[in-house]
Symmetry: C2
Subunit: 187 residues, 2 copies
């Protein structure tokens, strides 16, 4: 496989760090890949923007930070403004249409999905937005199998949230399937 | 403040990643510091050793990985064997006496605490061991205030676990207080 450099961004409480850890663990434990996951906190955390980085590769990973992501997810306008310029040409930009209004074209495939709205309609609360996002992202770029994510959820999710999180992941996959967007080949 | 390089290590499921994230968030959001938190997954994750790195500083942090920790926590023998050689001279090595048998002297302050045993006696389950460890560590090296940790717990912990986690943190603090170990000045 090639090396995937992924940045999840949004605001504190949206679960972007959790989703990045779930992805990294699924890749490593169930698919035999290597992964590094990190977050920098600083002025961003105080200002409300959270960013989590994941690098996935079948080779060794020496530097754990992502400079130019080939997959960038933005769940707030502030995160979009801050990070969308850094996307690798030919990459994938995934945004939530409730939180982010696209302001410019980037040299990447831009996919805007009503994840927040769909989750609120289905579940009445925004908590599992991060799993919905992960389901959508992995339908667009099938880095790891759904089965691997589900196994991580089985192990890590408190019992009360397990079914909700699994359902949210499936909702994310379905959103992509319904839009007829094909899985991406990333540059 | 100086720069603190912290490595939490143990096995998957002991919560070392969670505790590292709680510490980083407390430092940044409530104490105005900078922090970087990361974990590498690879052969380690499959073999069962988990390691989470945190760097805390009032200055800019350029490289997010810890090579030589000045605080190293080991919650399994395997983690101890693997990482204890990397500790910075004059640093702090904190181990759990149920899981780790010390095998050699390192040029660091070695503190062995019965965290697992105390948590099992008090709570009947090992889940909040990571909070107990964090309470003990922060009593030994008061990097951030207890109040800041509690505020992060208030925001991040599912309601069912909040009181248990807070109590476990206090148990860790008390373990250090009872042993009469003074807060450390780290090299």
């Amino acid at each position: 496989m090639e090396r995937y450099r992924i940045v999840f961004s949004g605001s504190g409480g949206q679960g972007v760090i959790t989703s990045s850890i779930i992805l990294a663990e699924a890749a490593v434990i169930y698919e035999g890949l290597n992964a590094v996951q990190s977050q920098s906190y600083g002025a961003e955390a105080r200002g409300g923007t959270t960013r989590a980085d994941v690098i996935i590769s079948d080779g060794e990973i020496r530097f754990p930070k992502v400079n130019q992501p080939n997959i960038l997810v933005c769940l707030t306008q502030q995160a979009y403004s801050k990070f969308s310029g850094s996307i690798r040409p030919g990459g994938l930009l995934l945004t939530d249409s409730h939180f982010v209004q696209l302001e410019r074209k980037v040299d990447a495939c831009q996919v805007e999905l009503p994840m927040y709205e769909t989750i609120m309609n289905a579940m009445g609360k925004p908590t599992p937005l991060n799993l919905c996002m992960l389901g959508a992202m992995l339908s667009l770029v099938p880095l790891v199998k759904t089965k691997s994510i589900m196994r991580v959820l089985d192990e890590k999710t408190p019992a009360d949230f397990l079914e909700m999180n699994k359902a949210a992941f499936e909702i994310g996959k379905k959103l992509v399937a319904e839009l007829g967007i094909e899985p991406q080949e990333l540059a």
